[in-house]
């Protein structure tokens, strides 16, 4: 494995982690952009599978996705590097802040900075979601398109537990795949 690969793994996750405010689903689109679009180390579908695995495991989704990316690209050492890259920025920042947190919390300039960055983060996620959604629709698989819309409605409007959605969609996908396979077998027999 090239030395450069390790360095890129660490610094990519470090930068992304340092600039992502908010929950795990904020960092995931950025990871996808870096590793799928820029570096082309992982393909789109595999990335989505990784996110699904990360979401189904306990812990922080950002850390879990990083582990999977590192493991896939460079094995156990790669995973160790991406964990470090993801964990270090919040670790350093929080250690510093915890010593003078009241001043930080009430500082208006920091508030303005964060408010501006929030709009930028929203733009980044919107861009990634529209291109990912377009990819799903382009597959021309009605079931996938319906699943996507239904899952969004359930999570966003009805606040359904994410774990339930993951289980339901996984089951649905498994059933559909077995049905397709059986149909194909029957056609072959006839």
């Amino acid at each position: 494995m090239e030395k450069n690969t390790y360095r890129k793994l660490f610094w990519s996750t470090f930068y992304i982690s340092a600039f992502t405010f908010g929950g795990g689903f904020v960092i995931v689109p950025l990871l996808r952009k870096r590793f799928v679009d820029d570096l082309k180390w992982i393909d789109e579908n595999e990335m989505l599978d990784m996110i699904a695995i990360a979401q189904s495991s306990p812990g922080a989704i950002a850390v879990n996705t990083s582990i999977l990316i590192g493991y896939k690209v460079a094995g156990a050492l790669g995973a160790a590097l991406t964990i470090l890259g993801t964990v270090l920025p919040p670790f350093i920042i929080l250690s510093v802040i915890s010593f003078f947190y009241a001043a930080f919390r009430d500082n208006e300039i920091i508030g303005a900075l964060l408010k501006g960055m929030q709009a930028g983060v929203a733009a980044v996620i919107a861009e990634v979601v529209t291109s990912m959604g377009a990819n799903i629709i382009k597959e021309k698989n009605t079931l996938s398109t319906i699943t996507m819309i239904a899952a969004f409605t359930a999570v966003y409007f009805f606040k359904v537990n994410v774990v339930l959605i993951i289980i339901a969609c996984g089951l649905l996908g498994a059933l559909a795949a077995m049905y397709r396979k059986r149909k194909k077998l029957r056609e072959v027999q006839e």
Binding site: F21, S56, P58, I93, K115, M117, A122, A123, I125, C169
Partner: protein
């Protein structure tokens, strides 16, 4: 002894927080505030505010904050390690099975069912952040008066630039932050 306690408590938080960031908050609260009295409820609320204002997963932020508070930097290190370890073991195990069996019809089917769901989950998180960014906290609905025009312009320009020029997203985020600060300075320092 306190280090082992920190490690063990965050190990349990890491093991049982399924479903991402916010799902971990009640668990952290019960372990840190109620059971071990490592933080008061006010300190805990401050922690959540800070965790939302700073980058990184809420649980990692909490582990660092609580660890530093209770036992200095060493405390922060063991707490963070404790939180990450269970995820590491479970994710690697799942990854092992995924790469071994991903060509099986059932596994392939499960994954193809999950892909659109994952896009939907990211979309939902994106919509929440978008509303928060454009209207601010506790927005009543889509009323035009509460709209923050600076955020709307930043969002629109950022989205356009990303689609058109495909820059590194971090520059868009940093640029928006800089405009936020300039806007504040302009409003507060201009006579």
């Amino acid at each position: 002894m306190i280090h082992i306690m920190l490690f063990w408590n965050f190990f349990q938080i890491g093991l049982f927080s399924v479903g991402g960031g916010y799902a971990a908050i009640p668990l952290i609260q019960s372990r840190i505030v109620q059971i071990n009295n490592w933080l008061t409820m006010t300190e805990f609320t401050d922690l959540i505010t800070i965790a939302e204002m700073t980058p990184g997963p809420i649980a990692i932020n909490s582990a660092t904050f609580v660890g530093t508070h209770v036992a200095g930097i060493a405390g922060a290190v063991v707490s963070t390690l404790g939180f990450v370890l269970p995820a590491c073991i479970i994710v690697m195990t799942l990854a092992f099975f995924y790469y071994k069996y991903k060509d099986l019809t059932v596994v392939e089917g499960i994954m193809s069912g999950l892909r659109p769901a994952v896009v939907a989950l990211i979309g939902s998180a994106g919509a929440t952040i978008l509303l928060l960014a454009l209207w601010g906290e506790g927005a009543a609905g889509f009323n035009l008066s509460g709209l923050n025009y600076q955020s709307v312009s930043l969002f629109a320009v950022g989205f356009f630039v990303l689609k058109k020029f495909k820059p590194n997203p971090i520059y868009v985020i940093l640029g928006s932050g800089a405009v936020g600060v300039i806007g504040w300075l302009f409003n507060n320092l201009a006579v």
